[in-house]
């Protein structure tokens, strides 16, 4: 089991300091929530973990492997999967295809010229994909085209695409945005269930119901800096957090 440790990560866009000396320690197996007002730098921080952005300074270690500087596919192959704030799925493929593709990445690695075997004979991958679609509650529309799904369903599909890979670290950027209350609760249950498998998770959420039902630890980010960190109870009672976030925009 590997910890994620983030040290002194800073990132500026032009004059804007999006991340300012961020430090974060995520224990293996834990659910770590990151909360904070809009524009606080939460998504930017995740972008630094998966290779979408390169921070100006700092280090990100996953276990004893440095993640900074690796291309995105190497980071994923190291066991890091991400659900994006705006769903990144294969819009014009079917749901099963969407989930089979990441399953192939896990099975075959970053590149394999698998050009002559028939897709219809890859039953192990297909069964696995359909099983995970069932877990997220999308089995009924497995042959629909992903682009036709609602925003909430796209998010569940993207979650399935991550889960099928059995990641060691799962990054979730607002996993329940756009979902109904019922679907949100289902997703919470699902995330709790996979928590038992010991996947480390980082969850960014605005929905405090989700945060407080899942998180073991919470970091509060505001204007690019971590202004508080602690257990859910500590965060609830922290006056600085009340001021910057809970009392502010919400």
């Amino acid at each position: 089991m590997a910890n994620l440790s983030v040290k002194d990560v800073s990132k500026s866009f032009g004059g804007l300091m999006a991340l300012d000396q961020v430090n974060l320690e995520v224990t293996a197996g834990a659910v770590h929530a990151i909360i904070g007002p809009n524009g606080a730098g939460k998504s930017t921080l995740l972008n630094c973990f998966v290779g979408r952005l390169k921070p100006d300074t700092g280090t990100v270690m996953f276990g004893d492997q440095p993640l900074l500087g690796l291309p995105p596919h190497r980071i994923n192959q190291a066991g890091v999967a991400r659900v994006f704030q705006t769903p990144e799925i294969f819009e014009d493929l079917t749901l099963v295809d969407n989930v089979m593709i990441p399953a192939f990445a896990r099975r075959d690695g970053a590149f394999k010229l698998n050009a002559l075997p028939s897709l219809s004979k890859q039953t192990d991958v297909r069964d696995h994909a359909e099983h995970v679609l069932e877990d997220v509650g999308l089995a009924d529309s497995r042959n629909a085209i992903a682009g036709t799904l609602s925003r909430g369903d796209k998010r569940r599909l993207e979650l399935a695409m991550c889960l099928v890979q059995d990641p060691r670290l799962l990054l979730l950027d607002e996993p329940t945005a756009g979902m109904s209350r019922a679907d949100t609760n289902n997703t919470i249950d699902l995330l709790k269930k996979i928590g038992e498998r010991g996947i480390t998770k980082i969850v960014i959420e605005h929905d405090m119901h989700v945060v407080f039902s899942l998180a073991h630890r919470i970091s509060v980010l505001a204007q690019g800096t971590v202004i508080a960190e602690g257990s859910p109870d500590e965060i609830k009672g922290n006056p600085k957090v009340q001021e910057a976030y809970l009392g502010g925009t919400h």
Binding site: H73, F90, E91, L93, L119, I145
Partner: protein
Amino acid sequence: MAKFLRNDLVVLAIFAVVVLAMPIWLQPLGAGYPDLLQRFAIYGIFAIGFNILFGLTGYLSFGHAAFLGVGSYAAVWSFKLLSLNVIPAVMLSIVVAGLFAAVIGFICLRRSGIYFSILTLAFAQMSYNLAYSVLTPITNGETGLRVLRADPRVIDGMLGVDAKGVLVTDLFGISMSGYSGFYFCAAMLIIGFFFAMRIMRSPFGMMLKAIKSNQNRMSYTGFNTRPYALAAFVISGMYAGLAGALLAATDPLAGAERMQWTASGEVVLMTILGGAGTLVGPFLGAGIIKYFENIFSAFNQQALNQAFSFLPEWLQDIVVGVISPFVGEGWHLTLGVVFMLIVIFLPGGLMEGFRRLGRLFTSGGNGPDRRKAASPAAQPQAAE
């Protein structure tokens, strides 16, 4: 019906019968003669290969004629140095075009979208100009490379096969002109079609479609997308090389004009007209363009006047005046207009048109739940 078409061998058998019977069923359309049939098969191969790159990955190359030209030169060199037998020529062309594609693809795939297209175009134009200038010793410049009686042909020499009379390419003694030439091209087309079908229905084909759909997601999913795109580029270059070899086999002469950007553009049109990303669309597009090219470019002012001689003279003049820019040399104008109409009204190409027609006839009973799975660009390859 759709399920039955999932079986590769069934599809292959139907395709083979249709292709091999072309001399029969194209007869009433006035296209049942070997010269034109050979072109259908050869450009069909070119388009089927191009589709593996463009149709699956979405990378639009504007330089594939370069590989066609390289294939032709390699084949003629094989006829000169090795043997007039087409088998070594075909193999050499595929290998040389593949290597050439690996180098060009490696460089061009550093960029995507329009920049990729421009890079491929630039490389093809460079090849075209080099063939006319510094590479004249290899390409014989403007005259074109042809087979000569004095050529060494070492394999033929060793086997004691001596070309008598006219120099024609052969397949173990069967001359590659006329119908036997067509059947050889048709056999290559069927083999090429089979491999393309296997690729499209393999995990590799699925990855290529995923690259077209969302390349970002592919990276965050753990795939190194560049070797996938490069593999598709090289495979399509090899198909182009094969097509070039067959052009040389049926007419042992290679010239640089085969590498012109218009030839690269033509294969793009063929693929889009038939339906990019579909199995038979590119072949269909190639056939239709070559067929109408043949008809339209044969017309001239005189033929037009004759065709409309039943009209009163003043009307005849107007009609002929309006039509004549679109025929003969002006055939490309017609092609341009047709292409615009297709892109605007039927962006999925003719295969999309057939699918819409099919849906019109079958949608009576099971409309709504069908529609869910059948968004236009994405219907999994069942309907072909």
